[in-house]
Amino acid sequence: MNNIQNDTAKPLAWYQRAWQSDVCWSFRHTPIAMLSALVFLILVSMAIFAPWVAPHQPFDPSTLNLMDGFSPPMESAIGSGNVYWLGADDQGRDIFSTILYGMRLSLFIGVAAVFLAASLGVTLGLIAGYAGGWVDTIIMRIADIQLTFPSILVALLIFGVARGLTPPELRDQMAVWVLIFSIGLSDWVQFARTVRSSTMVEANKDYVQAARLIGRPRHVILRKHLLPNVMGPVLVIATISLALAIIAEATLSFLGVGAPPTKPSLGTLIRTGQDYLFSGEWWIILFPAMTLLLLALSVNLLGDWLRDVLNPKLR
């Protein structure tokens, strides 16, 4: 993108410098990117510091006042006289606090799922791209077949199977880990495909051939030489995947097969809130839904921007 000079002395260093300055330049000149980064940072820090930020402890039954149930936003509740900024839900829990804790859970599941998906996808992609032959065929065949199905369906199936394998009494406790597992497993294909193709390109380059010739072990070549050079697109996919994972988690929880009501995520909050849509307690559903929207939108916009800057060809 930047000026094309015939600076052959240090191609990599020059490339990296241009790369970085381009990203920075674009970030400073894309108001949407800056705004979404700001929103995302605020949401994330609120989630991380939820125990300190939240005005109430929504999951400590001793602090709840059932008489505060359905208290509207910014009004003194009937029971305790507390003012709940965003209102209270059916059990008198402060919506603002439940959102903070819910977002915390949603983000944790999302990040962990993307981490799982990325580790799995990058590993399999590296192996498939470097080994080639039947290893490649098998891995990519599986990827193809999985890609035939929408990831939400794959996640649901994995969730169902994992749930079937966990003893019924542990199901609620294990729900979060089962969620991470099923969303992560449903989303590795994109990583694998991209890493595989860039590995195949990189593996033919001189430095890899040289490493191979001087007899570096295969795992060293993969880890030390190939991995750092295929990570660029992975960052982009991870960002977009994070948005997808957050939405997937919310969807599963909304469908009633995700985080349990005792430990709600944003999706669970929306699911419970839906019951009160007709009775007029709009705040129970509106604020969690807005939060989810802001979260998903800011990550998505960031991912979109990052993709445009780093790798316009990645679609």
Partner: protein
């Protein structure tokens, strides 16, 4: 051409066999069929006898073969939850899902292509730009939120349309469908928009991206250099070349509608197979889950096959090469 079709059919059958094998593994190794059939008070002898009778002692390959054979004949076992043959459950629920999927697919296709072409041609226009920005929100918005939003506006606030269920069904060309009654049509509007919106956005963005790509092609430049009108260039040259590569992906997207119906059916309590499946996941009703998997797999494979055939018919390059 024939060789091409045959190869595609075999590929499809292979995918189905693998999906079938996953379904079989779930069916066979998860949950305990003995438990669900015999109940708590069964003796050890009963178990051994039933194992033998169900053929659970046979080699796995034989069991898989039997599973596939049964599936082909429409035998998918009995639901753990309500003791009804799964085939019966599915056949009751399938028409509702198909009808919803069909209406959504038509919505998604028509609006997706029209808006995609529009935003590509009027790349710099404010309306096209607003549509593109809105579409990004549309992609970010989880389907269930769209459904809830629509319910809130059109059912709760305005009270125009029902918020759940399928309405009455009537007979249209001998098929029982809710499209034949007023209440049915009213009921399907919101779910269909909810289900179709995401696919519509995707198709629109896809068509736009492809069309922009095509508009940069040499033959479009050459057409301009020959003094053809913008209309001829956009619609007779660019559009056809745009839609050709897009067909495959659009076909897959439409296939996903069936699966995404799970979410929409939950939001609107639409009595289709998706709702059935969600209940099955909640209660770990393995036979229903496996059957649903097989059903969706079969639909995807058939749809893929149709798309490939369509592609071969439209593209002259393929037509000649594969003849």
């Amino acid at each position: 051409m024939l060789a091409y079709i045959i190869r595609r059919v075999f590929q499809g059958a292979f995918v189905l066999l693998i999906v079938g094998f996953i379904a079989f593994c779930m069916f066979r190794f998860m949950g305990d069929p003995l438990e669900s059939i015999l109940g708590q008070e069964a003796t050890a002898l009963d178990r051994i006898e039933l194992r033998e009778r169900l053929g659970l002692n046979d080699p796995i390959v034989l069991q898989y073969g039997r599973f596939v054979g049964n599936a082909v004949q429409g035998e998918f076992g009995i639901s753990y939850r309500n003791g009804v043959p799964v085939a019966e459950l599915i056949s009751q629920r399938l028409p509702a899902t198909l009808e919803l999927a069909l209406v959504s697919a038509v919505l998604a296709l028509v609006f997706g292509i029209v808006l995609g072409v529009y935003t590509a041609i009027k790349r710099e226009g404010w309306l096209a730009n607003s549509i593109m920005s809105l579409s990004l929100i549309g992609v970010s918005l989880p389907t269930f939120l769209i459904g809830i939003l629509l319910i809130w506006i059109f059912a709760v606030e305005l009270g125009w349309l029902p918020s759940f269920g399928r309405g009455d069904t009537g007979s249209l060309f001998g098929i029982q469908t809710s499209l034949a009654t007023v209440s049915g049509i009213k009921s399907i509007i919101l779910p269909a928009i909810t289900l179709g919106l995401y696919q519509m956005t995707l198709i629109m963005r896809l068509v736009r991206a492809e069309m922009l790509e095509v508009l940069r092609a040499d033959y479009i430049r050459f057409a301009r250099a020959r003094g053809l009108s913008e209309r001829a260039i956009n619609f007779s040259h660019a559009l056809k070349n745009t839609l050709l590569p897009v067909i495959t992906i659009i076909g897959l997207q439409l296939g996903q509608i069936i699966a995404f119906a799970i979410i929409t059916e939950t939001v609107f309590q639409w009595p289709g197979v998706g709702l059935l499946f969600i209940n099955a996941v909640q209660f770990v009703d393995i036979p229903v889950m496996t059957t649903y998997l097989l059903l969706v797999g079969a639909m995807f494979v058939v749809l893929n096959l149709l798309v490939d055939l369509l592609y071969a018919v439209i593209d002259p390059r393929l037509r000649v090469a594969k003849r």
